[in-house]
Symmetry: C2
Subunit: 215 residues, 2 copies
């Protein structure tokens, strides 16, 4: 799959509001999906919408989520219901001269589709990818999953076929008449940062580097 | 409403997995809701689940979201459909000695219910609250919304009546047999941090303090 390819815009992914903020190319989608670590997974169960935060990983043109085989969410999703998986990166608070034009800078990705259960062979590799994306090299030093642990874990794959990204960047956009007001205007950047590692016990080993967030 | 009161556990809010991580008291729920700034709002439209990131505010036992009166989401929600509003705060990566026991520390809140449109009188006050919660004192110095801007904005209120919080804290929990493995284990804390303000223009004024996130 060519990462520069552009996805078809569908009824579900077409941005109704501010279409200039919409992006449908895989490059943009993947850059957002690869920076986030928690997604919000929406699905209906018994007629009720649930939005559940969960970790995820990407491999090629698929997203993976995992969980206990006994969980309500995994059992529901395994049935192939329609889901909406959303990843949001908050980048800044946009403070305008008028109350009305306040906004936030963000990058979000929304993926629609149906997840499928990955088979036993692929499950191990998917779980390895999960860890390697966050802490490269860690899989080789941790105790690998036992067959029982694997059996108790369900891994689902969601194809990135119907998806859109939405991005706002830059300064506030005030009305021309408001530009002379004596009000501080601009952007306060925000980002997820990693703090100092807190070791459990005292192994004398070096803490692994967590790649996604700057320290 | 007594903030120490505990919400009734319902079929929708009962934690199926790891019930010891569940909390149903308003104190806990409010502390999570007041720290987050972006929620993920889930709802069904034309049989499809959508999960949309949006800013929100809390006043007493209600949450407020706002948006263009022309937006698909606001029009759908104004009809009184069932929603699930989820706020997630990622606190740390939990690195265990075994691959299986890796986890994340987080605090999340999930609110179920139906939103109602606030009337014109309350709309102004709700928008003021939005801004005051993030940047106290700012409402008084920015240009207030015109009647046309107010007309183009819909504010919805969602009662916090049926809700649950889920929290994981602390170090990894490894199997006793794995404790002797030569693997760094512990928590890498993560948090949203504010960076240096970027002014639009050069007013000579002092940038407002953004309270929710530490710098």
């Amino acid at each position: 799959m060519n990462p520069e390819s552009v996805l078809e815009v569908t009824e579900r992914t077409k941005l109704q509001r501010r279409p200039n903020r919409g992006h449908y190319d895989r490059d943009t989608l993947y850059s957002i999906l690869d920076e986030g670590m928690v997604c919000h997974l929406g699905f209906a169960a018994h007629g009720q919408t649930f939005v559940v935060p969960t970790a995820y990983g990407r491999s090629g043109d698929r997203l993976f989520v995992h969980g206990s085989a006994a969980s309500r969410m995994m059992k529901t999703l395994a049935q192939g219901v329609d889901v909406c998986l959303t990843v949001t990166l908050l980048d800044g608070l946009v403070l305008a001269r008028s109350a009305f034009h306040h906004s936030v800078n963000y990058r979000s990705a929304m993926v629609f589709g149906r997840a499928t259960v990955v088979d036993e062979n692929e499950k191990y590799e998917a779980l390895r990818l999960f860890m390697e994306q966050v802490t490269p090299g860690r899989w080789d030093v941790t105790r690998p999953p036992t067959s029982q642990e694997l059996k108790g874990t369900t891994v689902l794959a969601l194809p990135i076929e119907e998806a859109s990204a939405k991005i706002r960047t830059g300064p506030p956009i005030d009305d021309p008449d408001d530009m002379g007001l004596s009000v501080w205007a601009g952007v306060i950047p925000v980002a997820v940062r990693a703090g100092a590692p807190i070791e459990d016990g005292s192994s004398g080993l070096v803490a692994p580097v967590y790649k996604r967030y700057a320290t």
